[in-house]
Structures are given as structure tokens and as C-alpha cells.
């Protein structure tokens, strides 16, 4: 009907040409919109991917830095403590000892034995700091309780732990990772929060194991954690995050409704021992 009306004023040719051109440009516009939109989306996705890669790089760097610091600490412990102790023991047990009086010899051997005992203890301590024997032999609950007992022994802070559902142990690797995360969190609380107590609760629901640390000091919230995670500082928090990623878990930093206690909750998917 429209074309019949237009025909009288514009003529067949004009209607046809205008209609065809209109449709053609509409199609071209549509295609252009699709192409430009897709390019924008791809650019945006690439930016996000790049940011994620940078974040991964930062976490990796933090992890490497942490390993290096750990190695340096072990090297320093061995060099500064074990080295002089063993050197001293060697001095006691030098070649001239056989020319000495028996009483002097006995005294020297006794001193050397004392020093070697100290060295053994020192090396054991270093070894325990790398892999707590309680964790390996008795599991996470025992290791955490052991750690908390040591903290309580200092008398500065009151630490307690309660495991509600720990009948099935996680695998060794997971237990070690969780232990390191909890250890780091507890160390941070002791160092920075001026808390009077720390309480750890463990529970499990379905396939998820939950750990929650309460403390009454000055804590951080989720947004602070995310911010610090992207900063160049906060090596410990980056390590926590990278370990959480390895565990495919989640971590939440919150404050309770009364704004009295800060809480850190960790969710880890359970994996039964084979």
C-alpha cells in the first residue's frame, strides 16, 4: 500500500533504488555493529586476561620470594648457629687431645658432646620448621594444638582450637598447605593485631571442610585482603592466596555483627585419603 502511494510521487525507480539502498545500508550497518562490538568484547577480554596473568605472575613471584627467604633463613640458621657449634666441637676434639691429661680429655669430650647435642637439637628445630613431625605423624588437629600450646606457653596470647568433625583426614599435601595457611594467619594475628585470644574452629559439611579463626585484635576485611593481594607488599597474604588456589578453596576476612571479633574463614574441598 505504501509503495503504491509513493509510486505516484516518486516513481518506481526512486522507490526501488531508495528501498534497495536503504536495505543495503541497514545490512552494512548491522554487520559493522556486530564486528565492532565483537572487537570491543575481545579487547576487553584480553585486558581481563592480561590482568589475570599479571596477578598470577605476582603470586608466582611472591611464592618464589617466599621460598628464597625460607632458604636464606635456613642457610643463616645453618651458617650462624650450626656452623660455629660444630667448629667449636672440632676445636675440642683436635689432634692434641691425645697428649692431654685424661681428666682434660674427659672434660673436652664431654664439652664436645654437649655441643654436638646442641647442634642436633638445632638441626631438628630447622627440620621441624620445614615439616612439623606432629603434622606428619598425627595430623592437622594434633599439629594445630601443638602450635597453639607453644603460643600459649609464651603467656602473651591465649590460643585455643576445637575440631568438630575431623574423623577423616585430608591428604598429607592438603594438610600441610592448610597448616601453613593457619600458621601464617596466626603469626599475622600475633604480630599485627594485638589480640588477647585466638580461637580456631574446624567443621565439615558435605564435601567442604571449614576452618574459622576468631580473634579480638585489629584485623583486616575482605576488601583489605584483596587490595593487599594486588599490592607489591603483603608477601604472607599472597602466599596464603596462592596456597588457597592450590587447594581450590576460598578465604573470607570478616568482622562479626557486634564489631568485636574479626574472623577468617577458609573453605577447602575435602579429599579423602586413598
Amino acid at each position: 500500500m505504501f509503495f503504491l502511494q509513493v509510486k505516484t510521487t516518486l516513481g518506481i525507480s526512486s522507490v526501488l533504488v531508495l528501498g534497495t539502498l536503504g536495505m543495503f545500508f541497514m545490512a552494512i550497518t548491522l554487520v559493522s555493529i556486530v564486528v565492532f562490538h565483537q572487537r570491543r568484547v575481545i579487547r576487553f577480554n584480553k585486558q581481563i586476561q592480561k590482568m589475570e596473568e599479571e596477578r598470577q605472575q605476582m603470586l608466582l613471584r611472591a611464592s618464589i620470594q617466599f621460598q628464597e627467604e625460607e632458604r636464606q633463613r635456613i642457610a643463616a640458621d645453618l651458617h650462624d648457629d650450626a656452623g660455629p657449634l660444630l667448629a667449636t666441637a672440632r676445636l675440642y676434639l683436635n689432634e692434641n687431645l691425645i697428649h692431654q691429661e685424661p681428666a682434660v680429655q674427659l672434660q673436652a669430650i664431654f664439652s664436645a658432646k654437649q655441643i654436638i647435642d646442641d647442634s642436633i637439637q638445632l638441626i631438628r628445630n630447622i627440620s621441624h620448621s620445614l615439616m612439623p613431625p606432629t603434622l606428619k605423624n598425627f595430623g592437622l588437629e594434633a599439629a594445630i594444638k601443638d602450635l597453639f600450646e607453644k603460643i600459649n606457653g609464651s603467656g602473651v596470647i591465649n590460643a585455643s582450637a576445637r575440631f568438630h568433625d575431623n574423623r577423616q583426614r585430608l591428604n598429607d599435601e592438603k594438610e600441610l598447605l592448610i597448616f601453613r595457611i593457619l600458621q601464617e594467619l596466626v603469626t599475622n594475628i600475633i604480630k599485627h593485631s594485638s589480640a588477647g585470644f585466638i580461637h580456631l574452629t574446624q567443621n565439615a559439611q558435605g564435601n567442604i571442610v571449614y576452618f574459622r579463626i576468631h580473634h579480638d585484635g585489629k584485623g583486616i576485611l575482605q576488601k583489605d585482603f584483596e587490595k593487599m593481594e594486588h599490592d607489591s607488599t603483603g608477601l604472607g597474604l599472597k602466599n596464603i592466596q596462592s596456597r588457597i588456589r592450590v587447594l581450590r578453596g576460598k578465604i573470607f576476612f570478616e568482622i562479626d555483627n557486634t564489631h568485636t571479633y574479626y574472623k577468617v574463614t577458609i573453605e577447602v574441598p575435602r579429599e579423602l585419603i586413598k
Binding site: F3, G19, T20, A27, V31, V34, Q38
Partner: protein, 218 residues
């Protein structure tokens, strides 16, 4: 080129459909010219058949390239519906030896809809591949532009074909958009050809030298 594409992409159904469509277009053009040289009035039936076959090729092609969803499932019903519509229009409403303007118009609208839906599905998808580097995109664009350009032409053809001015314009517009469609189809084929060559290069295992090297050592 046809041989190369057929041989190298024998499993690519979408490409086969398009190649068959191109072959059909060539045969149809030849037959149309042959019939017109006799002055036969049956050319109109050839066009009606062309509309249906072209639509069928397009439906099958779009069915192959669309992601699995409701529209893909309903393409078969859309195709059957169109065939029924064309049959009813031809038997009950069209005069003998008349242009199938209504059928062509409906075909154009369905093709627009399916093309736009394809483009929408491409936008929605998370594929990081640029849309214009794909074979399917250029084929869809070829159909979209061809049908948008000839939409008014076919719609007005049944009433205006007797007008000499319209006949002249019909020839120009139809030829122009046919050429444009063929250019776009060529671009699509080039995309496919480049992709195939790249694939061929990438799948050649670089083991020959290593094996020779190992033999020499032994």
C-alpha cells in the same frame, strides 16, 4: 579451487553445502539463459524452483553453523513451513507464469532473521576468534547483503516486470548484488583456503630430520 576445497575439507558439511549451492547457481544461470534464448515463458518456474532450493541450501547451512539451541531445533520446521507456504501460494494464489514475489519476500525475511540470529549468537559467544576471520561469517554476510539488496526488487517484480524502467533497474540491481554476493563468497572461500593451508602446515610432523639424524648416528 573446488577440487582443493572438496578434497581437503571433505568432512566440512557447511563448506560442501555452499559449494553445492554455488554449483547449483551456475547450473541455474545456464539453464535460465538457455530457456530465455528460446523465449520460453517457463523461466518463471525455474525461478520458483531456485527460490525453494536456494532457501533449502541456506537453511541447511545455517542449521550446521548455529549453536545448539531452540532456533537450531526449529529450523527444520521453519523450512517445512516455508515449503508449505510456497506450495499453497503457487497452487491457490499465484497466477500461472507469474513472479513468486510473495514467496521471495517471505524467504528474504526468514533469511534476515536467521542471519541476524547467527550474528547475535556470535556476539553472545565467548570465542576469542575474530568473527570476520571465519568462513561462516562471510557466507552469512553474502546472503544477508544479497537478500537485503534484492528484497524490494523481488517484492515488486510481479507487478512491475512489464514496466521497461523497472526491467532495466531489475537487471542492474540483480546483477550488482549477484556480483557482490559472489565476491563475498570468494572471500569466504579464501578464508577457508587459508585456514586449510595453515592447518595442513601445522599438522605436518617435523620428524623427518630427526629420524635421519638418528639413523646417521646409528
Amino acid at each position: 579451487m573446488f577440487y582443493f576445497l572438496f578434497k581437503r575439507n571433505s568432512k566440512d558439511k557447511a563448506l560442501r553445502v555452499i559449494l553445492l549451492y554455488i554449483l547449483y547457481c551456475i547450473v541455474n544461470e545456464g539453464m535460465s539463459l538457455y530457456l530465455q534464448s528460446f523465449g520460453s515463458p517457463n523461466t518463471v518456474y525455474l525461478f520458483l524452483l531456485f527460490t525453494i532450493v536456494e532457501y533449502s541450501f541456506f537453511c541447511y547451512f545455517i542449521y550446521l553453523i548455529l549453536p545448539r539451541d531452540l532456533i537450531k531445533k526449529s529450523i527444520f520446521y521453519i523450512w517445512v513451513g516455508f515449503l508449505l507456504f510456497a506450495f499453497i501460494d503457487y497452487v491457490f494464489f499465484s497466477k500461472p507464469r507469474e513472479w513468486d514475489s510473495i514467496v521471495s519476500g517471505v524467504e528474504c525475511i526468514i533469511v534476515f532473521f536467521l542471519c541476524i540470529y547467527y550474528l547475535y549468537s556470535q556476539i553472545k559467544g565467548t570465542d576469542s576468534l575474530l568473527i570476520y576471520s571465519t568462513f561462516n561469517f562471510w557466507i552469512v554476510i553474502a546472503f544477508l547483503i544479497y537478500f537485503s539488496g534484492t528484497f524490494f526488487l523481488y517484492l515488486m517484480a510481479d507487478r512491475m516486470m512489464s514496466n521497461p524502467a523497472f526491467q532495466k533497474l531489475y537487471f542492474i540491481i540483480n546483477i550488482s548484488f549477484n556480483i557482490l554476493k559472489n565476491i563475498l563468497l570468494c572471500v569466504a572461500m579464501t578464508m577457508k583456503l587459508n585456514h586449510t593451508v595453515k592447518q595442513q602446515k601445522s599438522v605436518i610432523p617435523d620428524l623427518g630430520d630427526d629420524l635421519l639424524f638418528t639413523n646417521k648416528i646409528n
